[in-house]
Amino acid sequence: MKSRLSNFLKKIIILLILIIPNIVNADFFEDITDKIIDNPKRLSYGISVTDMDKDGKYEFIVTGFGYSNLALSYRDGNLINIADQDIFSDELRKSIGVAACDVDKDGYEEIYFLNTDTYSGTKKYSDRLIDLEGNKFLDMFEIDTNKEDLNLTAGRSVACVDRKGNGEYGLYVSNYGGPTRFYEIEDKIIKDKSANLNLDNITGGRAVVSGHILTDRSDIFAANERGANFLLKNNDGVFEDVAFDYRVDDVIQNGRGTALADIMYRGRLDIISGNWQGYHRAYVLKNDQFKDIGNNKFDKPSRIRTIISADFDNDGYDEVFMNNIAEPNKLFKIIENGRFEEIKLEIALEPDGYGTGAAVADIDNDGILELLVSRGESKEQPLTLYKAKVSKQSKYLRIKPINKYGAPARGATVTLLTNQRKHSKTIDAGSGYLCQMEPVAHYGIRKNENDFKVEVRWTNGTKDLIKITKLDQTVIIKQK
């Protein structure tokens, strides 16, 4: 009798062991917000990651909407704001989108702050393009010769596009209720070239990302509101909208958070596109059309803002973080064959958070990504900072491509090749809704993974293949 009962109990225990891991998830993140020194309630929006002070380390650049723009630097174990010049902090203007890239080919990433003091149409204050000369920041749009083409239309996001593949970055400014702008420096003057490049469309611009989506050059995907999305195929530097043909126009949904991600781990970038209170898309290219493969947990409508695809926990599989406003955040792991598995959050859930943006960077240089979440819009809230709980045995590899001018190669694609996967990541050009990630491809390493090689596809389409002999390091790869 005793042994029968014991057998029965054993069976029950085995069943519970099978069931319980699905029900209970240990906290994925830990909350390290206390590392942000001086973190008052405020209205924050977009975040970018760049080396703002040329010290070789990245800062989180956080926009302020009627509040100061911040540059959060990791110093002595904490994040501290080091922005102390008015032209950068710019408290009077309402900044929302931000992206950094080297537009003047000096190796330093200029920072584009997209200001918007109205919802749609004509705005009062133009945007800023911040450069650093010596120790002094200046706004390139305040130089007399650059004042002709100021952006005086409300906007949301901005992304860097090396359309010619020669390291000369332009800035795609996703405007709302007025034509899209595309700024480039020509003869030392900032010019809006949107009309010449078939980009001056009027829509409700929201998010924009750029990278190797269709061609060997920087293509553009722009998620819009009250109008079709754009998928802008780069034809020798001029763009053609092929969103309808490729079935990503999603015309009656309202685009928000967008990210380029290798959803199938097959060595190409596909598109994750979140829609405001609409179905979120996981577009995977198949036979010249994108097919949405998101399951019914992933696609569930929410008040979505920024979407980030990154390997937070260094397990070699990317997670997708969905930052929602006034609604809990969500996290999914992309496992093999593009299957999205929800990770239940407690830390970083932020059910009362008014999320307006988020970005990742290994800001403390320990091989684990930090996630900074900005909040605000209709309620002043402090920033929050999270880090995944990572196994001590975990390993990582970080690849930092640098272009021929010595600047981060935003828009380049890094592919990790191993015995287990072919995994591409974009060097983020911005701005999958207002934000831009660190210009590094961060890979966690899978169990029993070996034979590591890395391929960098530069913005001109050429490729370099590098053998990796050591993990747990950041490899800098320079364009020849």
Partner: protein, 229 residues
Amino acid sequence: MKKTLYKFFLIFFVLFQFETIAEEKNYYKELITDWSRIFPDQNRNAAGPKFFKYIIDKEITYEDFVEFNKLYCAVSGSLINPNSEPDFLFANESNTNKKICGDYYKCCIPCSCDIMKYSEVEKMKYKFIDGLQEFYVFTIKNPCNKKDFPNRVNKNYFCDGVKINNNQVYSLNGRIVIGLLHNGRSCRKDDIDFVKTHQVTGRFCELRNNTPLENLEGGMGDIFIKLAK
């Protein structure tokens, strides 16, 4: 007792695992995804027939057909949120003039009035992938030779000259099918009483249907009526 408990846990386990992998069909998402295919010029005014044609051209089961047809308004061409409640109403059958009752999924209440007054129903047979089915559909007469064809409606969707454009819409006995009457059947007396005394299909529709066309504001205004009358 042990056996029962064991079975319970086994069933729970199987159901739980199944829940995690089950993917329900999302008809609404499919319509949203294909919206620009259905309306390439993005004009869906009064274009319920476009939805009907798009749906019936799919290789689907009868159940899929019914579910898809709950998600658009036959009068306005608007999408309807999933889980919306239909109005119970009637319309006259074309040949017999008998009243046929059933459920109509609408985007707004004036559309229920317009469909009762300006459409007719016909019995239709169609072979789906799971077999032949018979059901009632709403139809309007061929509008293609109208001099006052409403200019806010894309005429090319409906017409090929003065003929119905069968590549764009589905026609039955020379009339355009605009949508499905769900659970259609001959009306009983108490059905008719219910419809006539209902606050929407009774009182409100009486008021709307006696309002001059130029004064109509709700629903599609006069667009559908001009098309269908």
